[in-house]
Subunit: 264 residues, 2 copies
């Protein structure tokens, strides 16, 4: 390979500065896709620390066991609806990550409303879905933004090795792709999350922070049900492979697990 | 004109069953675009009744004067955030419209958040924007749905003369068209309103209820500011002309005042 205008050095740099995150934060990590994200992120990226949040010890045995067995997992008890606690969460992250900052935030915690028609939607479901699926990711990202911006000044190329925010969305959030209806609170709150994604991608582009909305596929979870074609392992293996390849061309996009772009 | 397979009668019927609403409901009607909607709807459609909501007498002089001078205007004091009051509002509408139902609901009341970056967004602004811009239109439509469905059984062709719900959205709600950022609470809540629009259009299609999201243009109002190129009269004259032409081909679309379709 010839050295032409520094291309050779840049390629070497890309190879040696591995595009893996040293520090990762995952919400709703105690079960379902969140727990599998922790496992696959540990296996694929071998980060120094994965902050893994859970709400309730009694429903988090697997994660608590994993945390006890793996010194790189730092457990944080957090109800994402409790935004008053985000300041202390941010202090915990800052204390652990210092000047290197936080490379990868995955806003995974979410709730789903039942399939009901317009006549059956309740205020409580609307309120809870917006609080958990839209407001919580926004305010948690806000609280962690100083650490994310520190990470964005690192030497890695743009991607999860530098700074990225992944919002766990769903194909049900696609307005253009919606030909089934129902699930008003879930669909509306996740469409709002998609707007958050696009808005962040515009604001943080100059800082080389990559923001995406991600559809993990139709997966056998509490939400997806037993008829879903993919297991959580299959979904999250593909998701983590996709994350490892993120670059600036993905910024502000709505991607499914295999990298296919979805309509807003 | 020859009578061929009943085409002649159908054309006559289309001409004589004028596609104008007899009953209209407009929220946030005391000022800005809402007040102009009342005026232009009265002038263009000459409906039997326009329900016009306002929050505060002290900021509603023009509307209160119009209501005092025009027996077809029925004033309703309503804060759309107060969804507990929607049941009694629905009873008022049912008492006035009976078996004919409600032809046209325009969810116009809305609030806007300031232009701020992610770091300055507050929980209070997020909460207020979702409550007013998304949850209120959903729950008010839910409360009025029985009257809208009654109207949908009328003889008029699909359109505002039969049954239609118009959600006042904004080009700032377009995720695909967003290359400026900022205004997180407003943009997210209006993107969620666009999802509500699409979801309703799917559910209510078989009932011949037409649902659209509408961008009124950039208008000289409290939100649009003095640099906006259109006056409220110019905007709403175009909007009401567009409404008069609504048909099933428009159902579930995001349209601007001149009929141009916008990206989600």
């Amino acid at each position: 390979m010839e050295k032409v205008d520094g291309v050779y050095e840049r390629r070497l740099k890309d190879i040696f500065v591995m595009a893996v995150p040293k520090t990762v934060f995952i919400t709703g990590a105690n079960k379902g896709l969140g727990f599998h994200l922790v496992k696959h992120v540990l296996a694929k990226f071998k980060p120094e620390v994965v902050f893994a949040t859970y709400r309730d010890e009694s429903r988090s045995k697997e994660l608590l066991d994993l945390g006890a067995a793996n010194k790189n997992v730092q457990l944080i008890k957090l109800d994402v609806k409790n935004h008053q606690s985000f300041k202390s969460v941010a202090q915990t992250v800052e204390a652990a990550t210092g000047a290197n900052g936080l490379n990868l935030l995955i806003n995974n915690a979410g709730i789903a409303s039942k399939y009901v028609k317009l006549g059956q939607v309740t205020y409580e479901e609307l309120h809870d879905n917006f609080e958990t699926n839209t407001i919580a990711p926004l305010l948690l990202t806000q609280a962690l933004l100083p650490q994310i911006l520190k990470a964005s000044q690192g030497p890695a190329p743009p991607g999860v090795g530098k700074a990225a925010v992944v919002h766990m969305s769903a194909i049900l959030a696609s307005i253009g792709g919606n030909d089934v209806g129902g699930m008003y609170p879930y669909r509306c709150s996740k469409a709002a999350l998609n707007m958050l994604t696009k808005n962040m991608s515009v604001e943080l582009k100059k800082s080389k922070v990559i923001t995406i909305a991600l559809h993990p596929g139709w997966v056998k979870t509490a939400l997806g049900g037993p008829k879903a074609p993919m297991t959580p392992d299959q979904s999250i293996e593909a998701v983590v492979a996709l994350l490892s390849q993120l670059n600036e061309s993905h910024n502000g996009k709505f991607l499914q697990y295999d990298g296919k772009e979805l309509p807003w």
